[in-house]
Subunit: 545 residues, 2 copies
C-alpha cells in the first residue's frame, strides 16, 4: 500500500470505541431504525392541531352505526377483526392509536376499526361500504407525517395489520411477493437470510408496512442506489373502491402489454384503491458495507464532497446524507439526556455528511473509499472524519443522521417539511426559513431565549435533492404555522421544487398542491380519482380535494 494512502487512513480517524455514547451503543444493539419508530406519539410533546383548517365532514357520506357493525362482523372471520366504540368493543382511548397520527398532530374520530385477515375480506368490506356510502381510510403502520393514514372525521379505519404474510420469494429472479401489512423490517430480515435486500430503507422501518410504503411511494435512505419504487415494484394486488379485486401481481421484470396501471397506485395514498399485496424486485445484499461521517465547514463543501464521492465511489455509493449543526446539536442533546458521552468529532462543523458504500468485494470497496478519504483530507475538503470499524460503529454512525427526527421530536412540537429542490439551492431554503421566522419574532436564538421556535434543523438525502426541514416549537400554534405556510411552499415553487419529496400530500399538503402541480395536472388527477372512485369514499379530505 502506498505511503500516502496510509497517511490518509491515519488522518481519517478510526472511530475509537470510547467515542460512542452508551445511548448510541444501546440503540445500535437493536435494529437501527426501530429506536426511532418505537417512540410513541405522547413522547413527542404536547400538541394541539386546530381543527379550523381541516375540511368539514361531507354530508353525503353515511354515518357509521351499530347496524353497520353487525353487517361488517358477518363479513369478517374473526371477532377481533373489528373494534368499535359504537358497540363497546373498544374505548376511545383504545382507538386513539388508529385515530391519531404518529406526531400526534392530526386526530380523527373514526368509531370503527376493521382489520381484515384476507384480501377477500378487504374486498367484501369495501363492497359493503361502497354500497352503503361509508367513507374509508386505509391504514398501514400509521407512520406517515402528513395526516394521510388516520381519519379526518368518522371514516371507517381499514387497517392492514392482519395481512402480514410473505407469499413467495424467488432467489433466481429476486422477486418477493408479500402481503401489504408486512412490516418493512420483517421483509428485509426475510430477504437478508437469502442474501437479498429490500430496495427501500427508512427510519420507520420497524413499524411501517410495505403496502403503505408503496401507497405513499416512500423514498428513504438508499433511493440513490436502488432507485424509486416506480422502478422496482413489479406488480400489485389492489382492492378497488367497489370491492373488485385487481390481480396485478406480476413477477415479470418486463411486460409491455398495455398501460402500466400499477404505477397509478404507487403514491396514490389510498385514494383510488387499497393495496393488499406487492411484488417487488429485490437486489442482492451487498456483502461489504462501509460508512464514514465527516464534519465540514460549509454547504459548498458538502456539495464538493458529494461530487467527489459520486465520481470516485461510482457504483458502490449507496447513501449520501447530510445534516446541519442544529440537527447535530439536537442529536447530541438527546444522547446526553440519555446519559451518554457524545464526542465523535475532534473538530465540529456547520455541516456533516454521511457516506455509505455497499459492494460485492470488501477489498475493492475499501480501496475506493480509502482513495476518496485521502483525497478529501489532502485537499482539506473536510474538517474531520470518522470511519466505522465494525458493525456496531456502522450502526452508531448511522444513528447520528437517523436520530435527527426523533431528537427533534424530543425537543418540542415539530413542524416537519420535506421538499425537493435542485441540490445547489437546497440549503438556502433552510436559511430563508430562519430569516422568515426571525423577522416574525418567533425564533429563539442565542441570548434571546423567549421565542417559541427552538431550532430550525435542515438535513436530508443529498443524492435525491431531498431536504427535510424540522422546525422545533414549544407547541403547535396557528400563529407560527401562518409564518411558515404558505411561505415555505412559495420558496419551493420559486425553485421549481416539490412541496413533498417523499412524505406525500395527505391532509396537510393537499391544499397546497398548486405550488407543485399545474392546472392541467390537477385536472387530470381529479379525473383519475373520479374514474376509480366515483363516490369519493376512499381516503376523503386528502390528496386531491
Amino acid at each position: 500500500m502506498p505511503a500516502s494512502r496510509v497517511l490518509a487512513r491515519a488522518a481519517i480517524r478510526a472511530l475509537p470505541r470510547r467515542a460512542l455514547t452508551p445511548s448510541v451503543a444501546r440503540a445500535a444493539a437493536v435494529p437501527r431504525a426501530s429506536a426511532s419508530a418505537s417512540v410513541s406519539a405522547t413522547q413527542l410533546g404536547t400538541s394541539v392541531r386546530h381543527g379550523s383548517t381541516l375540511p368539514p365532514r361531507h354530508s353525503e357520506f353515511t354515518k357509521p352505526t351499530a347496524e353497520h357493525i353487525k353487517d361488517l362482523r358477518a363479513i369478517l372471520s374473526a371477532p377481533t377483526s373489528l373494534l368499535s366504540t359504537l358497540d363497546g368493543t373498544a374505548t376511545e382511548d383504545e382507538l386513539a392509536s388508529f385515530n391519531d397520527d404518529w406526531m400526534n398532530k392530526y386526530h380523527g374520530k373514526g368509531p370503527i376499526v376493521v382489520k381484515p385477515r384476507t384480501t377477500e375480506e378487504v374486498s367484501k368490506v369495501m363492497k359493503y361500504c361502497y354500497e352503503k356510502g361509508l367513507a374509508i381510510v386505509p391504514q398501514g403502520g400509521n407512520t406517515g407525517l402528513v395526516g394521510g393514514s388516520n381519519p379526518v372525521h368518522d371514516e371507517i379505519i381499514l387497517n392492514l395489520t392482519n395481512l402480514n404474510q410473505i407469499r413467495s420469494f424467488d432467489p433466481v429472479s429476486g422477486v418477493l411477493v408479500a402481503d401489504a401489512g408486512v412490516i418493512l423490517e420483517a421483509a428485509d430480515h426475510h430477504l437478508a437470510e437469502k442474501g437479498f435486500i429490500f430496495p427501500l430503507d427508512l427510519g420507520a422501518k420497524g413499524s411501517c408496512h410495505i403496502g403503505g410504503n408503496v401507497a405513499t411511494n416512500a423514498g428513504g435512505l438508499r433511493l440513490l442506489r436502488y432507485g424509486s419504487l416506480h422502478g422496482s415494484v413489479l406488480g400489485l394486488e389492489v382492492v378497488l373502491p367497489d370491492g373488485t379485486i385487481w390481480e396485478g401481481l406480476s413477477k415479470l421484470r418486463k411486460d409491455n402489454t398495455g398501460f402500466d396501471i400499477k404505477q397509478l397506485f404507487i403514491g396514490s395514498e389510498g385514494t383510488i384503491g387499497i393495496i393488499t399485496a406487492i411484488s417487488i424486485l429485490c437486489p442482492r445484499r451487498p456483502s461489504a458495507m462501509n460508512v464514514a461521517v465527516f464534519s465540514l465547514p460549509s454547504y459548498e463543501a458538502v456539495q464538493k464532497v458529494y461530487a467527489e464521492a459520486k465520481g470516485q465511489l461510482g457504483e458502490i455509493l449507496s447513501a449520501f446524507e447530510f445534516f446541519d449543526r442544529q440537527s447535530y446539536a439536537l442529536v447530541k442533546k438527546h444522547q446526553e439526556e440519555n446519559g451518554g458521552e457524545r464526542k465523535v468529532f475532534e473538530t465540529e462543523g456547520d455541516f456533516y455528511c454521511l457516506i455509505e458504500t455497499g459492494g460485492s468485494n470488501a477489498e475493492h470497496d475499501e480501496a475506493k473509499l480509502s482513495a476518496l478519504l485521502e483525497h478529501l483530507m489532502e485537499n482539506e475538503m473536510v474538517l474531520d472524519g470518522v470511519l466505522a470499524q465494525d458493525s456496531t460503529q456502522f450502526q452508531s454512525l448511522w444513528q447520528l443522521r437517523e436520530l435527527v427526527p426523533e431528537s427533534a421530536g424530543k425537543a418540542g412540537s415539530v413542524y416537519k417539511y420535506d421538499v425537493s429542490v435542485p441540490v445547489g439551492k437546497m440549503y438556502s431554503l433552510v436559511e430563508k426559513m430562519r430569516t422568515k421566522l426571525r423577522e416574525g419574532g418567533v425564533l429563539e436564538e442565542d441570548g434571546r431565549p423567549e421565542g417559541p421556535i427552538r431550532a430550525v434543523a435542515g438535513y436530508g438525502h443529498m443524492g435525491d435533492g431531498n431536504l427535510h426541514i424540522n422546525i422545533v416549537a414549544n407547541k403547535y400554534t396557528d400563529d407560527v404555522e401562518k409564518i411558515i405556510e404558505p411561505y415555505i411552499y412559495e420558496i419551493v415553487a420559486e425553485n421549481e421544487g416539490s412541496i413533498s419529496a417523499e412524505h406525500g400530500l395527505g391532509v396537510m399538503k393537499a391544499p397546497y398542491i398548486g405550488y407543485s402541480k399545474n392546472e392541467t395536472s390537477i385536472e387530470m388527477m381529479k379525473k383519475i380519482k373520479h374514474l376509480f372512485d366515483p363516490k369519493g369514499l376512499l381516503n376523503p379530505y386528502k390528496y386531491i380535494v
Copy 2:
C-alpha cells in the same frame, strides 16, 4: 497476481485480432447499433401481410382531404413540414417509409405526413384533428416491431423527426431534458461528452427516437443495470388528444404530490397523448468496460453462469445476453456473405452468452472478471470464451449478439416474438415452438430442406427474463402464422409470462392481450383510454381495441 489467475486468463483466450471478420471490423468502426438500424425494409426480403386480419377502417373517422391540407399548412411554419399524395407534394413511394414498418410487414395508406417543428405546432395540429375527427398515428423513428408506428388505414402520420433539440443537461443531477425526436444515439453521444450515459441502449439506437423509446417503454440491453424507464424518466411534456399541452417536465428525482401521471404515458404507444419532450435521470458513464463471450453446452449451463456472474460481478454487471446455436449460425452466415473470416470460438456450443461489466475502477473490475473467468474454467462451466482486449474487439463481440436480428432479416421473412417468462423456463419456449412447427410440417431441417421455415432462433436478455424468438421463413404466409399464433401466446400464458416483454402491442398483438392481462386490467385500460381520448382518434386499431 496468483498463478491460478494467470492460468485462467490464459485459458480464456484473449480474442486474437485475426479472428475478427472484416465485416465485423467494419461494423465496429461505426457506432455499434447503426449497422443494424440502417437496414432498409426492402433488404429484409419479400413480404406480404394479408390484410384480412387487420381491423376495418372506422367509418366515424373523417377522411383526410385537400381541404384539411390547406388548413394544416396554415398551422405549420415550414412548407416542408407537410407531405401528401393528395396535393402532389409527395408520391406514394415517397410516403412509403412513413407508411411501412421497418420489417416491411405492415403497410398503411396514410396520405398525409405532418412533421411539426415545435410543441406548439404539435398542439395546433392535434387540436385541429380533434375538432375535425381526423385519426392520427404518432411516429418516431418508426423502428417498432409490432406495427405500432405506421398507419393501419388513412390516419394522418404525425412524425416527430423535427422536434430534435437537446434542451438542457445538468451535470450535477445528471438530468437530461430533450425533445422527443432526438435520436437515441445522438442523446447518448451528447451525454458521453459530459461523462454520462443514457440509461437505455438497444439495437435500433441509430434510428429510434427517445420519445418513441419512452412511448413504448423500451427495455434493451442494459435494463439489468439501469432499470426500467418507469424508474429513470422524471418528467414528460405531452400533447393530449384535444391539443392541450401537459407540461410535466419535472427535473426532480423525488416528487410525491399526486398521481404519477407521466407513468401512464410510458408504454402507452401513442394512444393517449403524444410525448414531445422527456426529462430523464442519466447515470455517470462507467470509466471501465469489459465484455466476454462464451460458448456453452446447454441452457442449464447458461443459467449457472448467469448466477455466478450476478454473484461475483455484483454491482458492475451491466449486461448478460444469451443466444443459441441457430442465432449464431445466422450471424456467421451473414458475416460470411460479407466476405469475412468468422472463427471466434475454438469450441462451439449449443448456447452462447455475453457478459458486460461497467464500473468506475478498471483494476477492480478486471480483478472481479478474472476471478469469475477462472471459476468458470476451473469448474468447466463453459466450453470456450473470449475476452475483448480493446474497444474494437469490444464492439465486435457485441456484434455477435446484436447482429442476430439483422442476420435473421437477411435470411428471410422473420416472424418476431418477444416474451417474458421466468428465466428457468425461457428456453423451453423455443424448443416447444420448434416442435410445433415440425409437427406442422413447415420446418426446414437438416436433410429436409423443403420447409418454408429456415430457422427458429432464440436469444435475449437473460437478466430480464426476456426471450426473443425469431422464426425465419421463406415468406410471410397465413398458413405459417396460424401454426405459430396463438400457440406461442398460449405457451407464454401457461408460464404466467408476458406476450410482449418490450416490443409492445401495436397492431400485431392487440388481439392477444387477453393472454397476458386479465379482464379487470383490460377494463381499466379501456376506461383510461376513453378518459384521455374520448373520440378514439389517437393511434386507432392498436393497443387496446
